[in-house]
């Protein structure tokens, strides 16, 4: 099992950032790698168990299922059902925590997955650097960081 972890400080309150990332169908609105997204079977985007089907700007198609969503912990967990990445048993968590001495929050994004050993380094870099850090960078610039 491979573990990828990324974290960052976003210059906005936890409530402001949570409002953006809480919406399981909103990736195209804030993540630079995502072109379009929809929720399957017309379910609400905050219904645990719903599936988002989205397309990356590079053309890749991914389906992910919402496993957990907590407005109390500011956290969300999801699993990949289908993707061109060559990962299995992929489960990710995104979590926000308030930083009490300023208008900013601590954001964590991490995943565990299985993959072919020779692809581990490349996937670690593309997931941790591209997906997670790329998302953080977009949030930071969105909130003026």
């Amino acid at each position: 099992m491979t573990h990828v972890y990324a974290s960052s400080i976003i210059p906005a309150s936890v409530d402001q950032v949570w409002k953006v990332v809480r919406d399981f169908n909103a990736l195209p609105g804030w993540h630079p790698a995502i072109a379009e997204s929809r929720i399957e079977e017309g379910r609400p985007a905050d219904q645990v168990g719903c599936v988002r089907a989205f397309r990356l700007k590079d053309g890749g198609f991914i389906r992910e299922q919402l496993l957990a969503l907590s407005d109390y912990d500011f956290s969300c967990s999801y699993a990949i059902l289908e993707s061109p990445m060559g990962v299995e048993n992929y489960v990710a968590v995104m979590k926000l925590s308030p930083v009490t001495d300023g208008n900013r929050c601590f954001a964590e994004w991490y995943a565990d997955f299985d993959c072919a050993p020779e692809r581990e380094a490349e996937l670690t870099a593309s997931i941790g650097g591209g997906v997670f850090q790329g998302g953080f960078d977009a949030l930071k610039s969105r909130f003026g960081g």
């Binding site: 990324a6 974290s7 960052s8 400080i9 601590f106 581990e120």
Partner: protein, 490 residues
């Protein structure tokens, strides 16, 4: 019930912040509210259940007990067991998390307690501001000023830092290793300068010294593995910070030195839980075992694996890890003592020199089939036996030649069994930071989960490097050897 929660971001590596907070008896050295701290009953500072006696600057006394401490989560919890301040049923938690985007640390300090009627607000403010926020500020000041781990060397920063190395003027025997004075230059772009604390000794260093491998052209300094502390970093280096504990295991040579300036991309931060001696003894050998078992030939459950020199540094790790992966492990060694070590490392069968050849003994164990994979660093004396001992479609991994050059070999003969032959080179598996990171991540995990155990290494003074080489070449050693700079050796 009152809940108090404070958090902050400190611009310093997590290891530096944790080093301060982890010491349950250290508050009197950094927290402005604490005048004195003493541990009761001779307990250790990281012993769960230990009780600290605080005397506050304002005169009150309190006793607090350590409930949990985790070097994995970088968290600790404690309870007040007796106090002049009326905080009842007080349980607090401190937790640190790394900010990977910029090398900072996210710190939280949280507690819940009961307060006497009417005093909740006053006590919550005291705890939040007087203890937690004041504590964060004190730590921030401490870790962002001069690093405590390298104050003496820091003051010497100048055009070049003087140091000592064990170098050779020409290829030859162990006694060619002689002390030389060196200067470690100020790190340029992408470079780091290290104060080294422990240096790994590997068989490849012998090849460098004798000229068998042309990794070193005399005059020069051998050595490919060491651990140390970051003295300073050059422009553009983002994954390291001053005072951090780091290690490396890779070419170029030059590790037999007290101080070294090198490419920062080759240097990896070490987890706190892995000490200097363990890392210096295990980094290169552990990384070798990782790529041999996971990349050159991913060992699968049910395979039979033959490992030569199973009592050696790499050999023991190969046995432990291959057995964990579900393989049947056969060790081939030379003495009953080494056979015991091999069995202790997980070898299911051990082959010793006897009336039957190695291949006959392998066939007896495998019911005539032979083995699926062979890890052979013996070379000349073993190669032909290895070919014989393989099962059809077997994989022979020749990763060293301790007994001498294998010479030329007719590859047509490998067709008799459809043999796959690999001759991996450590350098090609470790030549980018991404590869090194992936390999070391799995290695550190394997150490954490006790899948592999790095044995305590035999220690030599750096100036006694020749003695370490003689022992290695004389086959007197089992496990690893390390060199310690003379002024740190005790």
């Amino acid at each position: 019930m009152v809940t108090v929660h404070r958090s902050t971001v400190i611009q310093a590596p997590l290891a530096a912040v944790w080093a301060i907070l982890r010491d349950f008896n250290g508050h009197d050295r950094w927290h402005p509210a604490v005048a004195r701290s003493d541990l009761e009953a001779g307990r250790k500072t990281d012993q769960i259940g230990a009780v600290r006696n605080f005397r506050l600057e304002t005169g009150e006394a309190l006793r607090e007990q350590l409930l949990s401490l985790s070097d994995k989560d970088h968290s600790l919890r404690y309870a007040i067991v007796e106090s002049d301040v009326p905080l009842q049923n007080y349980i607090a938690e401190i937790k640190l998390k790394p900010v990977t985007d910029g090398n900072g640390t996210f710190c939280t300090w949280t507690s819940r307690f009961d307060a006497p009627k009417g005093r909740a607000d006053e006590l919550a403010a005291l705890v939040a501001d007087g203890v937690y926020v004041a504590g964060f500020e004190a730590i921030r000041k401490r870790v962002t000023s001069a690093p405590p781990s390298a104050p003496s060397v820091r003051s010497q920063v100048g055009p070049g830092m003087d140091g000592m190395a064990m170098g050779i003027k020409r290829y030859g025997g162990p006694d060619e290793l002689q002390p030389v004075e060196i200067k470690a230059p100020v790190p340029g772009p992408g470079e780091v300068r290290l104060a080294q604390t422990a240096i790994g000794v590997n068989y490849i260093d012998v090849y460098c010294r004798t000229g068998y491998f042309k990794l070193l052209s005399p005059p020069g300094v051998p050595g490919m593995e060491a651990v140390g502390t970051v003295i300073d970093i050059g422009p553009g280096v983002r994954h390291l910070s001053v005072g951090q504990r780091v290690g490396y295991a890779c070419p170029p040579v030059g590790a037999y030195a007290t101080v070294r300036t090198m490419s920062a991309a080759l240097v990896i931060p070490l987890p706190d839980r892995i000490d200097d001696a363990t890392a210096a003894a295990g980094l290169l050998k552990g990384m070798s075992a990782e790529f041999l078992l996971h990349r050159v030939h991913p060992v699968k459950k049910g395979e039979t694996v033959l490992i030569y020199a199973p009592a050696g540094g790499v050999g023991r790790l190969l046995c432990q890890w291959a057995a964990y992966l579900g393989a049947t492990v056969i060790g081939a060694t030379s003495s009953e003592e080494k056979a015991r070590l091999a069995r202790a490392s997980g070898a299911h069968h051990v082959i010793l020199p006897g009336s039957d050849s190695l291949e006959d003994q392998v066939r007896a164990i495998t019911k005539g089939r032979g083995v699926d994979v062979i890890y052979d660093a013996v070379g000349r004396d073993s190669f032909a036996h290895s070919v014989e001992a393989l099962a059809p479609c077997g994989h022979l991994i020749s990763f060293g030649q301790a007994s001498g050059d294998i010479g030329t070999w007719d590859i047509g003969s490998l067709a008799a069994k459809s043999i796959t032959l690999s001759r991996p080179n450590f350098a090609h598996y470790t030549d980018t930071p991404e590869k090194v990171q992936a390999i070391t991540q799995r290695l550190f995990q394997a150490i954490d989960q006790r899948i592999v155990a790095i044995e305590p290494a035999r220690r030599y003074k750096l100036s006694d490097a020749a003695q370490a080489h003689r022992a290695l070449e004389g086959r007197q050693t089992t496990g690893a050897s390390i060199l310690i700079p003379d002024d740190l050796y005790r």
